[in-house]
C-alpha cells in the first residue's frame, strides 16, 4: 500500500463517529490518502458512502478486528469502480454443481472451480449465485473459505433472495449480500464480460 497521508482509528467508536472523523481528515488534506480502521460492516459501508459522495475513490480490505478503508483524494479523474482491482468480469453461477452427468462429481468440480477462481488474478468484479448455487454461499457449504478469500479482496458476492427463500436458506446466508432479479439483470447488462457456470 502507498504511504498514507492520514490514519483514522475509528475502532470502538459509536456511529456516526467513523464517518465524522473520516470526513474531518479528508477536509483537512489537499490531496493524498486517508486510511480509516473500523470494527464493523455498518461503519465500513458508511465510510465508503462518504467517500463516494465526495467523488473520491474508496476501497477496503479485511484488517485485524475489522476493515481498513482506503480513500484517495485529489485524483485527476474520479474512478467509477470502488474495488481494489478493477475488473470487467461478472460470473453467474446457476447451480451448486458444475456440469451434468454425476451429482457427486458436479459438487466436487464446483468446489475446485471456486478454489481455482479464488487463486487467479485478476479476480472477477462480482459473482452472482442463482438457483441451487445459493447453497454455495450458505452455512455448511464447503466452498465458503474460497468465497471469503475473494470477498477479502473486494469481490462482490451476491445471492438471489427468492432462491434462498425457496431452499429455506434465508437465515443461513454465510457470505455476501442478498440480491434480486432487477440487480442481476443490471449487473449482467453493465458487465464487459459475463461467465455463466
Amino acid at each position: 500500500m502507498d504511504v498514507v497521508t492520514v490514519r483514522v482509528d475509528a475502532k470502538g467508536l459509536a456511529c456516526p463517529e467513523p464517518v465524522i472523523r473520516t470526513k474531518r481528515a479528508l477536509d483537512e488534506i489537499q490531496d493524498g490518502t486517508v486510511l480509516t480502521l473500523v470494527d464493523n460492516e455498518v461503519a465500513r459501508n458508511n465510510v465508503v458512502k462518504l467517500a463516494k459522495s465526495k467523488g473520491y475513490t474508496a476501497s477496503f480490505e479485511k484488517a485485524d478486528e475489522g476493515y481498513a478503508v482506503l480513500i484517495e483524494k485529489g485524483m485527476a479523474e474520479p474512478h467509477e469502480e470502488m474495488l481494489i482491482d478493477t475488473h470487467d468480469l461478472v460470473v453467474l453461477i446457476t447451480s451448486s454443481q458444475l456440469g451434468q452427468g454425476d451429482d457427486k462429481l458436479g459438487a466436487l468440480l464446483m468446489k475446485n472451480f471456486l478454489f481455482a477462481l479464488s487463486e487467479t488474478s485478476p479476480l472477477p468484479q462480482k459473482i452472482l449465485f442463482l438457483n441451487s448455487a445459493v447453497k454455495l454461499t450458505s452455512q455448511g457449504s464447503d466452498s465458503l473459505r474460497s468465497i471469503e478469500k475473494m470477498v477479502d479482496q473486494g469481490v462482490s458476492i451476491e445471492s438471489c433472495g427468492i432462491c434462498l427463500e425457496y431452499f429455506h436458506l434465508k437465515d443461513a446466508l454465510a457470505v455476501g449480500s442478498i440480491t434480486n432479479m432487477y440487480d442481476v439483470v443490471d449487473s449482467l447488462n453493465h458487465a464487459k464480460r459475463v461467465l455463466t457456470i
Binding site: C15, P16, E17, V19, I20, K23, N40, E41, V42, N45, N46, V47, V48, K49, L50, K52, S53, G161, I162, L164, E165, K170, S177, I178, N180, M181, Y182, D183, V185, D186
Partner: protein, 319 residues
C-alpha cells in the same frame, strides 16, 4: 424468539401476536375492542421536553394506526442518578402536554434507575371490533399513502455527528412530535382498508409486514415518497444508522427494486423511523374524501405513493 411464548386461542383476542400488528386488540363487548400498546426508547434529540413529546406521540401512534381512540396512558421512565432532576421534569412535561393534546388521560407511571434516560408510555384505547385498521386489511387495487416524510433515523445520526443546523433539528423534531391523530381521523372517515404506522423497521420493513399479513404485493413509486429535506444528502454521506442495514438484511429478500434507484434513496426506505407517519391502504374512489378530511383537519394532503397488487403475496416492488 417469540416462538417460545405459549400461544392462546382465546377468541376475544382480535389482533394478537400472530399478525405483527401495531397493537393488540381484545374484544370486551359487542361494540368495543380494547387496544393496548406500549413503546419506550432512549433519547433521539437533545432537548428533554421535545424528547418527552416525541416519545408520547410515538406511543400514541400505535392506537391511531389501529383506527382507534386513545383513552388513558401511563409513563414508563428510566433515569440515571447522575443527571439533574430538571431534565426528567422537562421530559415528563413534554410527555404530559402531548397526552393532553391527544385528549387522553395520563393516569400514572413507573420509574427505575437506568444508565441512560428511557421514556415512553403504555397506552390504552378503544376501537369498534368491526372497524379495526389492521395490517392485514390492504386490498388489491388500493392506493397507498404515507402521512409523514421519511428520514428521521438518518437525521438523528447526522445530529449526533454535529452536522445539523438548529433549524434542521427543529424541523425533524416537530415531525416526530406530531400526532397521527388528524391523519387517523381522515382515514377512518374515508373508510380505509388497512393501516400501519412507520417506525423502527422503516417503510420497507413495515410495508413487508402489511404485504405479508394482507397477502398482497405493495408497489411504490420512489418519486412520490415524501422525504425530510436534506435527509437524502446525509444518507449519501454515510450518516446511515445501523438499524437501516439491519432492516435491509431482514427484508431485502422480499424487495424488488429498479436498478436505477440511488443507494441513498434505498437507505431512506430502510431508515428506521421514530414516530413516523401512517401507511394507509385506501380504495382509490375514496381518495377524494380522504384528501378533503385531511384539509379539514389542517393536515397536509399526502401524495399517493403506490398501490396494492396481487402477486406474489408478501413482496414489495420499488420503481
Amino acid at each position: 424468539m417469540l416462538r417460545n411464548i405459549p400461544k392462546t386461542d382465546d377468541q376475544r383476542i382480535l389482533v394478537g401476536m400472530d399478525t405483527l400488528d401495531d397493537a393488540a386488540v381484545i374484544r370486551i363487548d359487542q361494540d368495543r375492542g380494547l387496544i393496548q400498546t406500549l413503546d419506550f426508547f432512549t433519547p433521539v434529540v437533545d432537548n428533554p421536553y421535545m424528547f418527552g413529546q416525541i416519545a408520547a406521540a410515538n406511543a400514541l401512534s400505535d392506537i391511531y394506526a389501529m383506527g382507534g381512540d386513545p383513552f388513558c396512558a401511563m409513563n414508563i421512565i428510566g433515569f440515571p442518578s447522575c443527571l439533574e432532576l430538571w431534565v426528567l421534569e422537562d421530559i415528563l412535561r413534554g410527555g404530559a402536554d402531548k397526552v393532553m393534546e391527544a385528549e387522553t388521560l395520563l393516569v400514572g407511571g413507573h420509574s427505575i434507575e437506568t444508565p441512560e434516560p428511557i421514556f415512553g408510555m403504555s397506552v390504552t384505547g378503544f376501537v369498534h371490533p368491526e372497524r379495526i385498521m389492521a395490517n392485514a386489511g390492504a386490498r388489491v387495487g388500493d392506493v397507498l399513502l404515507l402521512t409523514k416524510p421519511l428520514g428521521t433515523g438518518i437525521m438523528a445520526t447526522a445530529a449526533k455527528g454535529g452536522m445539523l443546523s438548529e433549524a434542521e433539528i427543529q424541523a425533524a423534531s416537530e415531525q416526530m412530535a406530531k400526532l397521527n391523530r388528524g391523519a387517523a381521523k381522515a382515514m377512518i372517515a374515508a373508510g380505509a382498508h388497512g393501516c400501519t404506522d412507520i417506525t423502527g423497521f422503516g417503510l420497507l420493513g413495515h410495508a413487508r409486514e402489511m404485504a405479508a399479513a394482507s397477502s398482497v404485493s405493495l408497489h411504490f413509486d420512489v418519486q412520490k415518497i415524501p422525504v425530510i429535506p436534506s435527509a437524502q444528502e446525509y444518507a449519501a454521506m454515510g450518516l446511515v444508522p445501523a438499524g437501516a442495514y439491519r432492516n435491509q438484511n431482514f427484508v431485502a429478500a422480499h424487495v424488488n427494486r429498479a436498478a436505477a434507484i440511488d443507494e441513498s434513496m434505498i437507505d431512506l426506505l430502510y431508515d428506521p423511523q421514530t414516530s413516523g407517519g401512517l401507511l394507509i391502504a385506501l380504495a382509490p374512489e375514496n381518495l377524494g374524501i380522504f384528501e378533503r378530511e385531511m384539509v379539514a383537519m389542517g393536515e397536509e394532503v399526502p401524495l399517493v405513493i403506490g398501490h396494492v397488487g396481487s402477486c406474489p403475496a408478501g413482496t414489495i416492488y420499488i420503481s
